[in-house]
Symmetry: C2
Subunit: 593 residues, 2 copies
């Protein structure tokens, strides 16, 4: 490399460099022969530059230029020159110039590519993952990996300047089975014993608060041995934070400031100084989701008040069994929504447990179609009450509260997409607060933590926590962005007795709690401070910022949806003596024996 | 926390705050009752402040103050006041003021401590690790964790501004057994298959170069399943870098700039603009180590030239068998070094394989003691040649080259400590360059990579690599600080055929190489650029900067020397169904059955 080391990058040259002698290192992105003139687009991480081997170049140089195939890695020496006015390419930062080539050195050749290196590829995922090192050369992947670096850098920059300490927590820890499955790591030195990989640094960041580090953060690798479904990865990255002597307002302020800094620095986007807050109950009642996409409206309205005046027995019986009846007014959708299309919406609702989806259309004369005949007398009261106008479609859902909310929420989400109500350029953050602390598991007939076991119940519920767990709201909060849960956190319990009461409710009697979390409970007895925190998914954040719908698009080397890597073929069988050293034997499941 | 949230920290108040009403949150560090006045040292991460409950305070407040035990977590409200001149404590940043307390709230009590929270504790390691959350409250651990944060922040700051991208590489990868043992992670979804935790991001950072990211870094967690010996940890952190289109000078320049920035920002220490470079052969010949501590001299000199003129048969036979004879002149040590003390030095040499350690003392009349009688006639030639003066001790080692160097090197290290030649305030960096690419393993009768298999042989050795592997110098380099190997790196091979030739020499025929590193070799065939890199141990760097001799002192939650965590008792047995899910069965070794 000594003699042909670059003196400029493929993104740096401008008209002001006219006449300069330069060396570029990079890849052959395109190579066209126009009547003996070779136009080569040379590419590196910083951009593209057109290099030209002129017609009157030495035959040897022309021949060499002609031999350059896609993705050869080359070094060139040449003179920068302005392009003729008619040839200037305003879409290319280096489009004012080209480089007249005097010397070419091939640093490495390239086999025939499995797919073209384009900005965005449409080749299949397996090929992209097998040749990830080539896929990462595409303009899209390059820009997303660079964006990811900008985002984590902006996060660190903001938090460091706010006196947060980035502290590394261990990743070979004790298995505390709860929530998702732990990945286990067999110990060679201690036969029959295992470490686990952390699902999050939760326990350790709380211990750091006990240690007095009062403002902690970490860009932390976390692990969940989950089944392959949806857009999940076995390992993922979260920005993990914890603070002492704070209330949730302090945590919100830091998070809002950090997100504003990240969006400004990485995308040039200004976020509002504070984000909206919606109580969990309200989010469910209005949008049927604890992660509502607020880039569009379509909020639910109560419909129950219209039912007593009608003789529609289905709704009446729902009310009698303490159910919920909600209406969703879709402006101007009456004409476009045929029975068929409404029936499609109903299918969506049914996948969330609804038995059906009722509807009516608003006409000049009142209500029409669907269940309108049962409400003919109240037509004006309903359209006035729901603020519905001629041409609107009214969808009505009756079911138990949770089913009514979530199934109508699914319908709302679908309408948002189908009706193109979503402005893709918007970033709508919202805090969801006042979550329930416990959820009842109908199958297990037991209470479970809605978030995790270390969250603080709100003061007014503490006394009656055991007698009515379902009513307890916690100091828990989620940060939602464009319908995605982006971050989640809580004020933690720091009193060992209160912590044990919570363990008791979720079925962790003292001996099991001590066995699993003894060191945390013990630490609370040594002057643990009040504390709380939050953790945000880095993969998801960058995915949303990049306008993508899969986190694989923003992870350099992801696993495929089966949890495997087609590039290195991992996981893989290992040599027998490796297992022997670990005191392990594989027991294959019957069908694979 | 709402009403008693801090408005200042325990490190922030100064004389200029006199008269201010403030709230502090923190821990009771000391509590003294001086004739009814309670002087409490309150501590947080930022410092200590003396708070005072005056004699005339309400009885209830005095009583509460008297009840505060070590490490109670408290909130106090009070008025800042200047201390009387005679009470000012110049050693304490807040020593000009105290806070007159109006209100105390106990946020959490504290059990009797297992050890006192002092700046440095002398309690035993097991207690410190079991109660690590308390150990981390000590002034020493607090300052070291804060230093560690400063160091990694300064590293990132420097590299980001130099256009490096921090890119995350996967930690669930394929096991490629070589070097240290891999930790394995059993796959639940793929029965009988395993991931490995990375020993370093080596393969992935090379792939990122193939992808065109040209300047990569990562503060990366790495794993080695090594036996418990010395100051090792199962998981450790390295600052990992890789660059394309560079020679080693470029990598040295970035590393030197980064280290200078880190030392300036974290310790206020100025490092030289460039670091000394010593070839591996010279380092061995002069200091008997490839990681010499250059904070003191005691360089070796050749002694072989004096042997032919003597009749000392031991040395003669060493020379006949192509051995090496080296002298180490210890200025002024003749008087102090008795036979007993020299014999102790000899023991040190013997642990490195030497058969003995010869010596002579320089007197006014010539040479005396030890083997001097064999060299009586050459006394003046020797003292002149070695530049030895009256009162100096001359130590002489004769053995094969490597044994002579390393055993005399061990003697030199010991002398450096015993004679207190080391200025502990110094930071002496040195690059060791021109390492051999291959080492011969006498036991296995085979060639092994001296560093790793991906390093580039220097150009002049490539042709004859197979015929004389031992002569091949590689573009390998170590950065040494104060006798510790701090960083290690190389220019890599980027030519798949050259890479295969190296694999062949170290006994990895094509099929095994393809099986293990096929994806890397394959990637080289798609226009891989010339590249190289370096990786530095973060734990060790911070340890040296903190003036400590164990990396446990700079890791928040380390394992003990048996590779266990006394705090959470990991590794631990896991529940049977966890193993069943992983298709595994434990096979206990016989003695533990």
């Amino acid at each position: 490399m000594e003699n042909m080391k670059r003196t400029a990058t493929c993104g740096s040259l401008r008209a002001s460099d006219d006449g300069k002698s330069i060396i570029l290192n990079g890849w052959v992105h395109r190579n066209r022969d126009h009547g003996g003139i070779h136009f080569i687009n040379m590419r590196d991480r910083y951009g593209e530059t057109q290099i030209v081997v002129d017609e009157d170049a030495p035959a040897e140089l022309s021949e060499l230029a002609g031999s350059l195939k896609f993705e050869y890695c080359i070094a060139i020496e040449g003179i920068v020159r302005k392009r003729p006015d008619t040839m200037v390419n305003p879409d290319m930062p280096t489009g004012e110039i080209e480089v007249s080539v005097k010397k070419i050195e091939i640093l490495n050749t390239c086999l025939t590519l499995p797919f073209m290196i384009e900005d965005e590829t449409d080749s299949n995922e397996t090929a992209r993952l097998k040749y990830r090192y080539l896929d990462l050369r595409s303009g899209g992947m390059q820009s997303r990996i660079i964006l990811r670096n900008k985002v984590t850098w902006a996060i660190r920059d903001y938090l460091q300047k706010d006196d947060f300490l980035e502290i590394e927590t261990p990743t070979l820890i004790k298995s505390t089975p709860e929530g998702a499955r732990d990945f286990l790591v067999p110990s060679r030195l201690h036969a029959g014993k295992f470490f686990a990989l952390p699902q999050s640094p939760q326990l350790y960041k709380q211990l750091l608060m006990v240690s007095g580090f009062d403002k902690y953060f970490q860009v932390a690798r976390c692990y969940r041995d989950e089944d392959a479904r949806g857009d999940r990865q076995l390992e993922f990255t979260q920005i993990d934070m914890e603070m002492s002597f704070v209330s949730k307002d302090d945590i919100f302020a830091v998070t809002e400031g950090m997100m504003s800094h990240v969006f400004k620095e990485s995308l040039g986007v200004d976020l509002p100084a504070t984000f909206e807050r919606i109580a969990y109950d309200d989010a469910m009642n209005l949008y049927g989701s604890d992660k509502p996409d607020l880039r569009f409206g379509l909020a639910f309205q109560d419909f129950a008040s219209f039912v007593p005046g009608s003789d529609f027995s289905v709704f009446k019986s729902v009310l009698e069994s303490k159910g919920t009846i909600k209406a969703l007014v879709v402006p101007g959708a009456a004409a476009d929504y045929s029975r068929k299309k409404i029936s499609d919406l109903e299918e969506t609702a049914k996948t969330y447990g609804a038995k059906g989806l009722a509807w009516m259309k608003v006409t000049a004369d009142g209500l029409d179609g669907g269940i309108s005949k049962f409400f003919a007398e109240q037509a004006k009261a309903i359209t006035d009450g729901l603020n519905a106008n001629e041409g609107d479609l009214i969808l009505i859902m009756a079911a138990d509260w949770k089913t009514a909310c979530t199934s109508l929420g699914a319908v709302r989400s679908r309408l948002g997409k189908d009706l193109k109500l979503i402005d893709e350029s918007q970033y709508k953050f919202v805090w969801i607060i006042d979550f329930p602390l416990f959820e009842y598991n109908e199958e297990e007939k037991s209470w479970e933590p809605a978030h995790h076991m270390f969250s603080m119940p709100q003061q007014r519920f503490i006394e009656t926590m055991e007698s009515d767990p379902g009513a307890v709201k916690g100091d828990l909060y989620d940060l939602v962005l464009n319908g995605y849960e982006l971050a989640s956190g809580s004020i933690r319990v720091h009193d060992p007795e209160l912590q044990q009461r919570i363990f008791n409710i979720v079925g962790f009697p003292r001996e099991i709690a001590e066995e699993r979390f003894g060191f945390l409970l013990e630490s609370f007895r040594y002057g643990a401070p009040p504390h709380g925190g939050i953790a945000a998914g880095v993969d998801r954040l960058v995915m949303i910022m990049a306008g993508k719908s899969s986190i694989k698009e923003v992870i350099p080397f992801p696993k495929n949806s089966a949890g495997m890597s087609p590039m290195d073929d991992s996981p893989a069988r290992v040599e027998g003596d490796q297992l022997q050293d670990l005191h392990l034997q594989v027991v294959m499941p019957p069908e694979e024996k």
